[in-house]
Symmetry: C2
Subunit: 143 residues, 2 copies
């Protein structure tokens, strides 16, 4: 119906920035493990063992930050590290049985509010729209 002007783009950016701040605080308040911890476990589960730098690139954080994340996860017994047989510099990070269980627990807990909010606050049509929008946001975040 209407055309998008440049100021619409700015308004969307502004509101998106605001709403992202809110969502992050809400997600943190649910204080399961940190966002990145959950993301790493999920990735290891889907894609198998990986190096620290690989994980850092995949999650869009610095290698030093990922090293800390991995150290935390190891401290909690959720992952284990072993040297890469083919490259003495690399450490292969892989999930433990405890980690798998924690991931399952986290998946259930996610239903705790974000997934629940999506299914309860949005109509089926809106859920589809959100699903498409998430892909757009991913594209933007990786640009």
């Amino acid at each position: 119906m209407s055309t998008r002007t440049p100021s619409d783009t700015g308004r969307i950016a502004s509101e998106l920035r605001n709403v992202i701040g809110r969502l992050v605080r809400r997600l943190r308040a649910e204080h399961r493990f940190p966002l990145t911890h959950g993301a790493v476990l999920g990735r290891l589960d889907r894609e198998g063992p990986a190096g620290v730098s690989d994980l850092a690139v995949r999650e869009g954080v610095k290698p030093q930050s990922m090293a800390q994340t991995v150290a935390d996860l190891e401290g909690e017994g959720l992952v284990s590290r072993r040297p890469d047989p083919s490259d003495g510099r690399r450490m292969l990070v892989e999930m433990t049985a405890t980690g798998t269980a924690a991931l399952e627990e986290d998946r259930r807990h996610r239903e705790g509010w974000l997934a629940t909010a999506i299914s309860e606050q949005l109509t089926a049509e809106e859920q589809r729209l959100l699903g498409r929008a998430v892909e757009l946001l991913r594209r933007i975040s990786e640009s």
Copy 2:
């Protein structure tokens, strides 16, 4: 055409959580003033002077956190505080000329990447979709 199953909801929640983490890191890396600082300035600009508790509720943070944010903004000369004439407990927070200028500067800087990314990475149709999705996310974040 297809129906959404509960697992779709979980998948959307999972991917949304991941993409939000990425966006927040990107936004932080652009290090204008903090997300909440910009949000407070924008609100004061749109809605005029407000109390600290009002702002805390509007932005979804604790009053203590907002007091710190307001103190930071005042330290930078972007807002000023004066006692509410009608209620000795309240402090009215209002923008300074410097704050208004900083907000304008921030609005221009937003074009720096989030707004630019939206206008360059997305088609007009996708921008419309994202605009609608932001409203859905707001509803979820406030639920």
